[in-house]
């Protein structure tokens, strides 16, 4: 797969001293050239081919830039000292640190990661986020301009990299390009490059959620909630891999939020029917999750909100609703807060209150599928009451 070669080749160029932005541009051109030439003339060593063509492009670019002539000469004199051994996993980590530089805004980190590490074209990234190609091209080039002159050789912040990959994954369910699969591929590469258990936690979380994707929408594109999904179409192979990856992460005994969330996803995946869900154990993992921050209501309100559902199942709907009360100030104007309260009211048998909460959630929704789903929930609860 062509795109899998991108991190290795790009990292090689940058390590050799090429400017990140220029090298990334040159490699994009080489990729386009490869798509044209390879079908008829497949190269013996695709990585070396890309590196050579990208290097030629870099030299061409510099040749047209008289001010940089001296640097060009120096480059041409230098023998290419590309190590033959494969450093693919290190390369990936190095590039992820470049693309997820803390000086970049999240949207730029995501775009740059998809292009420089994922090897997606600007067009594909633009399509995934429903913006014009020119807008995405500008976002990427501004991001690269921000990185210009930054030292890119010290280790970056792994937490930022994980967050960016999770953003890519989350965007994957909306767009036209399968970003979820791309995020899983990148997370898998990341786990080869770092021993940090949270990287494996993130990969496990993605796999364990992605496994349920085939059941999440019906034939008309309507959202199907977890308690109504056809569990027979869940991807058991992905679940098995997710559980394996999670177990290896947990064995390190250095807990983190992705490991907690993956454990919760694993418990859902493990239940053969909604009634068999192990809510007490899910609640215990939510307890661990919210214990990771000092003031969870303010620092991690979505975790507190998700936990209130587990509280509802273990301690009763009223207890769950009391948990959501604590979040009123922080999340009271969000559709999700009202949706969870609708669910808890329904769990407690108060269908009129559930109807009202779902209807309010629908009014606040910011996504058409979710809005339609919440209208249906409101109608269903009203008809049943």
């Amino acid at each position: 797969m062509l795109r899998a070669l991108v991190p290795e080749v790009l990292a090689g160029l940058v390590r050799r001293g090429e400017d990140f932005a220029a090298a990334e541009d040159a490699l994009q051109e080489a990729l386009i050239e490869a798509l044209r030439v390879w079908p008829e003339h497949p190269p013996r060593d695709p990585g070396a081919w890309l590196a050579t063509v990208a290097t030629h492009r870099l030299v061409d670019a510099r040749r047209s830039d008289a001010a940089r002539r001296r640097r060009e000469d120096r480059l041409l004199e230098q023998p290419e000292s590309e190590p033959a051994g494969s450093e693919t996993s290190d390369d990936t980590l190095f590039l992820l640190f470049c693309c997820c530089h803390p000086d970049l805004a999240p949207a730029s980190q995501v775009a740059l990661t998809l292009r420089a590490v994922g090897g997606l074209t600007t067009r594909e990234i633009a399509d995934a986020f429903y913006v014009p190609e020119a807008t995405m091209a500008q976002r990427i080039s501004r991001a690269k301009r921000t990185l210009r002159g930054r030292r890119l050789n010290q280790p970056g912040d792994l937490a930022v990299v994980l967050r960016v990959l999770y953003l890519v994954y989350a965007a994957g369910h909306a767009g036209r390009v399968d970003l979820a699969r791309e995020a899983i591929r990148l997370a898998r590469q990341l786990t080869l490059a770092t021993e940090e258990p949270e990287a494996r936690g993130l990969l496990a979380l993605m796999l364990l959620n992605h496994a349920r994707l085939p059941a999440r929408f019906d034939a008309e594109g309507r959202i199907v909630t977890l308690d109504r999904q056809d569990r027979g179409v869940w991807d058991t192979r992905e679940i098995a891999e997710g559980v394996r990856v999670l177990q290896s992460a947990l064995a390190d005994e250095r807990p983190g939020r992705y490991q907690c969330e993956a454990a919760i996803a694993a418990l859902h995946d493990d239940a053969a029917s909604p009634a068999e869900t192990d809510w007490p154990q899910i609640l215990a993992w939510y307890d661990s999750l919210v214990a990771l921050t000092d003031d969870p209501v303010r620092q991690d309100p979505t975790a507190v909100l998700a936990r209130s559902v587990a509280v509802g199942h273990v301690l009763g709907a009223a207890a769950g609703l009391r948990e959501t009360d604590r979040l009123h100030e922080v999340l009271g104007d969000r559709h999700r807060w009202h949706a969870v309260r609708g669910y808890l009211h329904e769990l407690g048998g108060d269908l009129p209150a559930a109807t009202e909460a779902y209807a309010e959630a629908a009014r606040l929704a910011t996504n058409v599928s979710e809005r339609d789903h919440l209208v249906r929930q409101a109608v269903r609860a009203r008809v049943a009451s």
Partner: protein
Amino acid sequence: MPKYLLLKHYRGGPEPHHPFPPMDQWAPQDVEAHMAFLRHVGELLEENGEYVDAQALTPAQTWVRYGGPDAAPVTTDGPLPETSDLVAGWYMIDVESHERAVQLAAYISSEPGPGGEPLYEWIDVREVMSGAPAVD
């Protein structure tokens, strides 16, 4: 070919043809029929080669204006008169003529409501000004 925005409103516009309750108070099959019709409109426009864009807006509205030098922007969420316009979303279409835009708007307005009866919703048809002068 001219482009038109076919705007749907949460409120505002001419006197409604008939009053109807919010969708969460409809019968389940009426809700499904309504949503299926809107999906069908999008598909129809694409098949016709007339589709440009379709978007829905949340009902939350914030008015903003320049606050003056060294001042924060001035914002207000209201209160606004009950009759003021509130756009709910649009189809943007690229069609042969104004007549075709009106025809499509009328078709959208026939969307099924409670009891499967047409909503007769007013659709606001607006021509989009083109960016460059037409060739003469």
